[in-house]
Symmetry: C2
Amino acid sequence: MNVLISEVGPRDGLQSIARIMSTEAKKIWIDKAVAAGFTEIEVGSFVPAKVLPQLADTAEIVAYAAGIPGLTVAALIPNARGAANALAAGAHKITLPLSCSESHSLANLRRTHAQVLEDARIIAQMIRELPEGQRPHFEGSLSTAFGCTIEGVVPQAKVVELAEALMEAGCDEVGLADTTGYADPAAVRSMIRAIWGAVGKEALTGIHVHNTRGLGLANVLAAYDVGLTTFDSSLGGVGGCPFAPGASGNIVTEDLVFMFEAMGVSTGIDLDALFAVRNYVQAQLGDEPLYGFTPLAGLPLGFVPATQQSTSNEGALA
Amino acid sequence: MNVLISEVGPRDGLQSIARIMSTEAKKIWIDKAVAAGFTEIEVGSFVPAKVLPQLADTAEIVAYAAGIPGLTVAALIPNARGAANALAAGAHKITLPLSCSESHSLANLRRTHAQVLEDARIIAQMIRELPEGQRPHFEGSLSTAFGCTIEGVVPQAKVVELAEALMEAGCDEVGLADTTGYADPAAVRSMIRAIWGAVGKEALTGIHVHNTRGLGLANVLAAYDVGLTTFDSSLGGVGGCPFAPGASGNIVTEDLVFMFEAMGVSTGIDLDALFAVRNYVQAQLGDEPLYGFTPLAGLPLGFVPATQQSTSNEGALA
């Protein structure tokens, strides 16, 4: 496997739509995704049920998924309380979002940067107190890293400063998130290099981009070209962008996997099995729209997945 | 201007939909596009009216557009007869498609490679017989260069061989066209380098990609990274892909321009004026769907176009 596709549909996708998927259906989705080759899935978020009723069963889903061999079970945590619940449920990876735009952080989480960083320190300590082998991977996610709908431009220097602060607070890694779909390929490359310069390459390996303005896969390509290896995406782009009908918030897993496999970059995911997962999820979501081009167009005639290509990633710049 | 966005909507877009746009509306579209900053527009195709009634007024449109200062008027020509009509109408650039898949060429044009190449020689001679200053730029377009729905994979060596043959036949330049939406970023980079190796960099500067599987902008980025500078696109992605509802055949001009401008790569096109062109065309096309994300999401808060950015194209690999 050359890149890791981290499926976030059960969390980022489902939290964005009103319809509540049954716990049983979520478990089947996860089973089918694992069968298709996914090795990391963000299955939920430890937020109060009254805030996101769609994810009220996250603890049960995490516990279930943690029983699946070879699967890294990821969960979002808004704060230390959420982290405690995630640890109790047995999550393998927990992600604490820090909105690089402080006005966005205050508007959406009612928390300052200092408060989020203090939580990061508390969570890191909680993890250190766990026995070896039970400690989850702790990621600090730099959300609105490429701009914010309240502040507009977020200075690169601020993002770099917050990446350093998250690592100093005890995160194992930081992640880049284009929450608002403001990123472009040049900004992605520049931001990755700037953060690497401050915290090192091992401390930033993944990115979460949105497709709000259609640049999602181009931004992923830009990140891959400079060396990132983990990419978040949502099956069927579940969770459309409210202010842009037809525009998916998340990038579409099916198109992302197709792009890499066509390039000769192995994802470990079988595209036909992935389309079957899509069909299952579509059936569960009823009239909720799914996005993506490849499932509709089908695979090219004579398509050869990465592992069966004679030359891998021919012509790449990386 | 760092890159040239060649608008093909009036040709490639309109030929793909049943509705016939009035000659007057096409002229207004072209006027508005020029006002927005476009310097090259493919305004039609010199095919028999019975084949493409949507483009029956191509000669009139070419003659009209040729009167607009600073605009390069491009037209598609299926054969020598079409070329003669294009020259008579005053086209500045004529493009002869050669389908790299011979089965595709026979199925769609009922012509062998040898027949198309013979036409290329005849057309080149017609151009040479024109007085200096009246000679259009003659492009041979390598269509289905990345694969074909009949043959499947088209060997890179075959595409390179046909690029050489077109240049030997007298074309000023060849163009790459992913007619079927089979391309991926690695294939794009590899193909460009292979063709450059055979005919030189000056002989290949542009690419025409489709968004059939959602990789359109990623493929453009790949082509830009290795050094191509001309990119075809269609306003609103006019002309949806028949077998993939919601999937645009052509890449969307609005998203393409946004990507480059955000990257600090100047297109010479004003995005707000471009959105106005879109609104005009949408009004003319009635319920015909337009595609694209950026017009729906709007520009990012604090967005700065390329020419107003302090650093141009920061972080690019090229």
